[in-house]
Amino acid sequence: MRPGVLTVYRWELRKLRSQKRTYLGLGAAAVVPIIFVVATGLRGGGPNDVPFGRYIHDTGLAIPLVLLLFGSIWMFPLITALVAGDIVAAEDGNGTLKTILTRSLERGHVFGGKMLAALTYAVVAIFVNGAVALVAGTIASGFNPLVSLSGTTVTAPRGLLLVGLSLLVYLIPIIAIACVGLLLSTVTRNSAAAVVGTLMFSLILQLIGILPGLGGTRPYLLSTQFDAWQGLLREPIDWSPIIRAAWVCTLYALPATVWAYLAFLRRDVAGG
C-alpha cells in the first residue's frame, strides 16, 4: 500500500498526542468554562451586556454561547494557532522535515495530512469547550429552556440542538484562522512567529472593525464571522450571517491554503 494523506494524518495525530502543547490548548479549552461557571456562580451576577449573558443563571445552555462570544476575542484563535502555527514550523525547528520528505511521501500528502490534523485539533478544542461548558452550566444552572435573541422561549432539547449547530457554525471562521496559521507556519518556518502572527492577524482584524470610519468593512472581516452563529438563535432562524460567514471565510482560507500549499511544494528544505 502506498502511503498518502491519511497515513500522514494518522501520524500527525499520534505526534499531537505526544506533545505538551496539545494539552495546553485542550486543557485551556476545558478549564475555562469551569472557571467561568464557578466565578459567575460565586459572584451571583453575570455579563449582562452580551447576548445570553443575563440568562447564565437560568439555564446551562447559555454558558457555551457566552463562552463562544468571549472566546472569539483571543482564546479560540490562540488555541487554533497553537497547533496550526506550529505544525509545519516545528518540523523546521526539529530538522525532521528532511526526514519525512525523503521517504515515499509526496510533499502534497505531507501538507494535506498536516492541514487535516490542524483542523481536527481546532474542531476538538471547540467541542471540548462546548461540551464542558454545557455540562458545567447544566450542573450550575440546570437544563432549562433558553430565551432566543428574538425574545421567544426555546425548549431545552431544541436549545441543545441549536447550541450544537452554533458550535458547528463557529468552526467556519476557526477553520479560516487555522488556514492562516498554516500559511504562517509554512512561510515563517518559525513556530513562535507563526503562532503569535496568527493571533495578531486575528486581533488586528477586530481592531479594524472597531476603528471609526472603517465600520463599512465589518461584514467582510474574518473576526465578524465569529458572531454568525447568532443567526441560529433567532426565530425564525436568520441564515444570512451564516451564508456570509461561509463565503467570507472562504475568501480568507482558500488563498491562504493555496499559498501555503504551493510554498510547501516548492520550498527548499535546507535547515536541520
Binding site: R10, N94, T96, T99, R103, V269, A270
Partner: protein, 316 residues
C-alpha cells in the same frame, strides 16, 4: 523498470542570491560503488546531497537516480535512502515509534524490516526509549536503521561518522562496509580523507562548490606518487631550468626552500643533467611520494596552502 546509473549528476548548481553553494558538479555513481564525496566543510557537499534527495531545487543542472528525477516525483527515491547532516527524529517519540512512522511513510513491507534493522545497528534494546535521550551516536545509528527500512539499493550518507567517538566511528565504518558488501551502492560524503581511503573505491573531490577531481581512488594515488623534491646550490637558477625542461611540470618553491615538481623518471634523469650543465649543483633530488592527504589539501585549498601543508608535513 528502473534504468540508468544509481546517481547521475550533470551541471548541478545552487545559488543563494550572490552566494554560490554548488558551482557545477558532474558525477556518475556506478552500481556497487562506494563513492566518496570529499571536501572540506563548507565545500557544498551537503547542499549537493540535498539536491540529490530532492530536498532543495537546483538553480541549474539535474540529478537522476536510477534514471529518475527526484525533483519531479518522490518515486525517484524508491530504492534510495539516506540522510543529510545529522539524521533527525521526533525527540518525544521512542526510537521504535519513529521507525514505525518512517515505515508507514515508506509503505510496502517496510514495517517488517524494523526489527532486523534495529538489530543491524545494535539498537534493539534501546528502541523503547525516547529519541530525546539518545546520544549522538545512537541517533546516527537510528538514521541508518531508518534508511534500511527502505531496503535501499542506493544509500546517501552525509558525514556518517562526524561527531562519533573513535569506537563509534569504527562501528559506523564497519557498518558501511557491510552494507556495501551486501551490494548496496553507497555515496558517502566526508571531510576525512582517511575515511574515504578506507571505504571508497571512487571519489569526487569538491572545493568551493566545484569538482576538482572525479575518478578512481587508485588513479588519484598514482597522480600523488609522481612528485620530486629538489635542493640545489642555486634555487633561482634551478627553478628556471625546471620550468624550461620538457616533461617537468607543476614546479613550485616550498616555504622550506625546496623546489618541488612532478615528472616521470626519464624526465628527471634529463633534468639532473641539465641542472649540472647550467651550474646549479644538486644537493638533493628525491622522489616524493606525496600522500593522498597532501594531494587532497592541494586540490581543496589551492597551491599555496597545499605547499604549506606539504612543508609542515615535511618538517615534522
Amino acid at each position: 523498470m528502473q534504468t540508468g546509473a544509481p546517481v547521475e549528476v550533470r551541471g548541478l548548481v545552487k545559488r543563494y542570491g550572490d552566494l554560490v553553494a554548488v558551482a557545477g558538479v558532474d558525477l556518475t555513481v556506478e552500481p556497487g560503488d562506494v563513492y566518496g564525496y570529499l571536501g572540506p566543510n563548507g565545500a557544498g557537499k551537503t547542499t549537493s546531497l540535498r539536491m540529490m534527495l530532492g530536498l532543495i531545487r537546483p538553480t541549474a543542472g539535474e540529478v537522476r537516480l536510477f534514471g529518475r528525477d527526484p525533483q519531479v516525483t518522490v518515486r525517484a527515491l524508491e530504492g534510495v535512502a539516506g540522510f543529510v547532516e545529522a539524521p533527525r527524529f521526533y525527540p518525544y517519540l521512542s526510537g521504535m515509534e519513529n521507525l514505525r512512522m518512517m515505515a508507514a511513510f515508506d509503505g510496502g513491507d517496510a514495517r517488517e524490516r524494523i526489527a532486523p534493522s534495529l538489530e543491524i545497528v545494535d539498537l534493539a534494546d534501546r528502541a523503547k526509549d525516547r529519541v530525546g535521550g539518545y546520544s549522538h551516536g545512537m541517533r546516527q545509528r537510528l538514521g541508518i536503521a531508518a534508511a534500511l527500512l527502505r531496503d535501499p539499493r542506493l544509500m546517501l550518507l552525509d558525514e556518517p561518522t562526524t561527531g562519533l567517538d573513535p569506537g563509534g566511528m569504527r562501528d559506523m565504518r564497519q557498518l558501511v562496509r557491510r552494507l556495501a558488501g551486501e551490494g548496496i551502492t553507497v555515496v558517502l560524503s566526508s571531510h576525512l580523507l582517511s575515511e574515504v581511503e578506507e571505504l571508497c573505491n571512487r571519489v569526487a573531490i569538491v572545493r568551493n562548490g566545484r569538482m576538482v577531481y572525479e575518478g578512481h581512488l587508485s588513479e588519484l594515488r598514482r597522480t600523488a606518487g609522481s612528485g620530486y623534491r629538489l635542493r640545489t646550490t642555486d634555487d633561482g637558477l634551478a627553478e628556471r631550468v625546471c620550468n624550461a625542461q620538457p616533461g617537468v611540470s607543476d614546479v613550485r618553491m616550498t616555504d622550506g626552500g625546496d623546489l618541488r615538481f612532478s615528472a616521470a623518471e626519464p624526465a628527471v634523469a634529463e633534468l639532473s643533467v641539465a641542472l649540472v650543465e647550467s651550474g646549479a649543483a644538486i644537493l638533493a633530488l628525491t622522489p616524493e611520494h606525496a600522500t593522498l592527504e597532501e594531494l587532497f589539501f592541494r586540490l581543496t585549498e589551492g597551491d599555496e596552502d597545499g605547499d604549506r601543508a606539504a612543508a609542515l608535513e615535511h618538517a615534522s
